[in-house]
Amino acid sequence: MRLKIIVTLCLLAGAILAWNLHRIFLQVPDEASQGAIFRIIYFHVPAAITSFTGFYIAMFSGVGYLIGKDLRLDSIAASINEVSLAFATITICTGSIWGRIIWGIWWTWDARLTSYFVCLLIYFGYFMLRRAIDDPTTRARLSAVLSIFACVDIVLVWKSIEWFRTQHPGPVLEIRGGGGMAPGMEAPLWWNFLAFLMLATALVLVRTRQEGMRREIDALRRYAHAF
């Protein structure tokens, strides 16, 4: 049953992405000032929104664990955070490549890239913490608390870095892609977001099953050592 859901989600996501890519390359006109590179926004922004959605859903899953003490909720939280981290990496890499063309440099400490990088660092820390704890319940508990802190902090990080960059403009102008797009250009963005969301859900389902296997292995090992 689960396998069927995963396969269906992947196929649907693949279909939407393929149809969308056709639309993006052939039907959407080039943006006036940016040229062809602007199409990267159709991966950059959906990946960003997917990853943020994931981080916050994972936080609620962690809170669910703290309330219900069900280790499956912790597995779900960890899986979602891992998949979101992958999408966050996509966001930063595509953002950097876009910046290479628009600004001529691979990296700049503009508000969005910096905030994203901080997000990445916080969640690397999350996984580092998980790896350092052997006991499953302690790991679940501390991960959930870290997740809550991270999600509250991300809002403050965004706002403060944004204001910092308004006061100290970097060497490049920040071009806010996404605001003021023509109606025909915006729709593929949301379709891609839907596709990414489906892909992320499929990956989360696979990872959660793997976490369940890990729990089964731990339980069997404890049982085996009891002899």
Binding site: A36, I37, I40, F43, T94, W98, L220, A224, F227
Partner: protein, 53 residues
């Protein structure tokens, strides 16, 4: 619509796909190790139970 723009646009899409594919491959590898580990531990448990009987 300079050629350089198109090239980098393809780099961008390629990087995104490579990250997704790389992540899927890492998940698949983890699945393989987990299955091997699970089989090994199950065999260990069976041996333990047999030796007890």
């Amino acid at each position: 619509m300079s050629p350089q723009n198109f090239t980098f646009m393809f780099y961008g899409f390629t990087v995104a796909w490579l990250i997704i594919i790389g992540y899927v491959i890492s998940i698949a590898l983890r699945e393989k190790t987990l299955r091997q580990e699970l089989d090994r531990v199950k065999r260990m448990v069976e041996q333990g139970e047999q030796s007890r009987q």
